[in-house]
Symmetry: C2
Subunit: 337 residues, 2 copies
């Protein structure tokens, strides 16, 4: 926390850092709730959870819950446990994702499944997921429970959809957007939507924040998928080319496939569908994406979602908080450069 706060004083700090700084004491309460509620008398649970959670991560989702509550209520302490709940749902999906994907790195560290085993990752994910619901039940809002249980069901459906389209080079952009809406944007949307709900604001506020989060989440995931082909490893905190190796059908590839020559189509068929990958294939994949301007096209799509997010945000009360949430949208897209 201290190290983070120190970083925030840099002139080059991101809107995410500035948001965290503006809501610093609130975020400390959220972090305390996270650490407190991941405890269990089964030592492996806090150990594994701490490996992933206490290791940092951007905490963007709980920060969104907090910010979207504070737009409408400057006092209530209800978002602390509920923001922790959102982070637990996210962490549970990360743990399960890494098992499903056979990931090797997460947040710049060896993936938890490689350190503690797939077994423990599955079960601790289940624990965090259950704990998230316990926290919501303790808060007592059926609206929040509805929003987050719906999001959880949607996330898992998105993950299954992603699993079943992997390696299918006929996947359309429409299908891709449906998948990322479910697996990523739904939780961003819910994290934001519960803010006004917690604050007791009216339904239109909740629905505007839901729209903001949904579109921010879409932009975020599209950029994430672009970064997998177009980032510094150190910046990314995970292995570059993971999606390629797993045969995931993401925006850059689908956009490049739309204009593929026969030879290129054969390349994607071999590497993604048949998963017969050789040394140099990832470099070639990046070259094909470049040839068709697939990165730029993907960014344009991300920009269009970013604009929708900004538009939805304009319905929130004006002020520094709203400005930072607006800047966060631009930052989300620009981090790819």
């Amino acid at each position: 926390m201290v190290a983070q706060a120190a970083k925030d004083t840099h002139a080059s700090s991101s809107p995410l850092d500035r948001l965290a700084k503006m809501l610093d004491s609130d975020m400390q309460a959220v972090n305390a709730a996270i650490l407190d509620h991941m405890q269990s008398n089964v030592p492996m649970i806090p150990k594994l959870a701490a490996y992933l959670i206490a290791a940092g991560g951007k905490r963007i989702r709980p920060l969104l819950t907090l910010a979207c509550t504070r737009l409408y209520d400057t006092k209530t302490s209800r978002p602390f446990a509920l923001a922790a709940s959102v982070e637990f749902i996210h962490t549970a999906t990360l743990l399960h994702d890494d098992v499903v994907d056979g990931s090797e790195e997460r947040r710049g560290k060896k993936a938890a499944n490689l350190v503690f085993g797939n077994d423990a990752s599955v079960l601790v994910g289940d624990f965090l997921f259950s704990r998230a619901f316990q926290l919501m039940v303790a808060d007592g809002s059926l609206d929040v429970l509805r929003i987050l249980s719906d999001a959880s069901a949607i996330i898992s459906q998105g993950e299954v959809m992603q699993l079943t389209t992997a390696g299918n080079i006929a996947t359309s952009m429409e299908e891709y957007e449906e998948i990322i809406k479910a697996k990523t944007a739904a939780l961003f949307a819910s994290a934001c939507e519960i803010g006004p709900v917690i604050a007791g604001a009216d339904k239109s506020a909740a629905s505007a924040m839901c729209e903001y989060g949904l579109n921010l989440g879409m932009a975020f995931q599209i950029v994430d998928d672009i970064l997998d082909y177009n980032a510094d490893h150190d910046k990314l905190g995970k292995t570059l080319g993971d999606d390629f190796r797993e045969g995931k059908m993401t925006a850059p590839v689908i956009l490049a496939l739309a204009e593929a020559t026969n030879e290129e189509r054969d390349f994607w068929q071999r590497t993604l569908a048949e998963k017969k990958q050789e040394d140099g294939d990832f470099v070639q994949a990046c070259a094909i994406l470049k040839r068709h301007g697939a990165i730029e096209k993907g960014l344009k799509l991300a920009q269009s979602y970013a604009e929708k997010a900004r538009l939805a945000l304009s319905e929130a009360p004006d002020g520094r908080l709203r400005s930072l949430l607006d800047e966060l949208v631009s930052f989300t897209v620009e981090r790819s450069h």
Copy 2:
């Protein structure tokens, strides 16, 4: 359903069958709720869920929810969706268990993870778990949500505990009982407890049914663990000796270890702790259990829980339903013979 009903007319039918028959139309509504709510527009989800759920299984947990509601309210339709919710939580844990254990068989069929892959089993488990909470939220009782979210958190803690004690031949009976209380008895307890809650009965009824379910669940799991060393494969519907192969520390082994000779201790150390198993080891394990009367001792323990279950049940309204729930306790223990 029809085949099941036909079976029920046999004189030798179990109390479970007779309970299902007595509550036949209610159980049909529960089964309809299960089939209805496991649908999704992602085809893999109902496919995998159907493989496990529609394949049968005893549905003992939803039946308990139904029966414990009907003891106090003969009309309400609320238990249908909530019993489905209980079955979904159970199914989700089965799917994740089979991934964790690397199971080969479940309910007499190839385990789902072997047919659909570990990935799909993890994710569809997550979906069913989320769907369970959606059903509870739609019902709207925070008490039910509290009971079942608590149970879910306890179950995952029990599973992690089991994982971390596997192969540890110093595991005590106390630790074993703590594990099965968490991983099995907690959901039996909750399945029963929500009955009176749904029916709007008083707190003492809910607490009596919770006690009934908890102790029934303890007896059930102890007998299950005994059967793994002492059953016909066909009766069991899963591979005999699974626990032995996985190095699980269950009642029969712990009871035999308490009186082990040095040679026997070396045997358990090699087979369970070091997992260096050879042909004939399982037969020898069974012989050692026999030598120390470990099966009988385990059954005695199960009997003591069965008696507590019966005692708790005696607080429920008298009648045929209570009698069948009482017989179910005896049946749970006797199925091992």
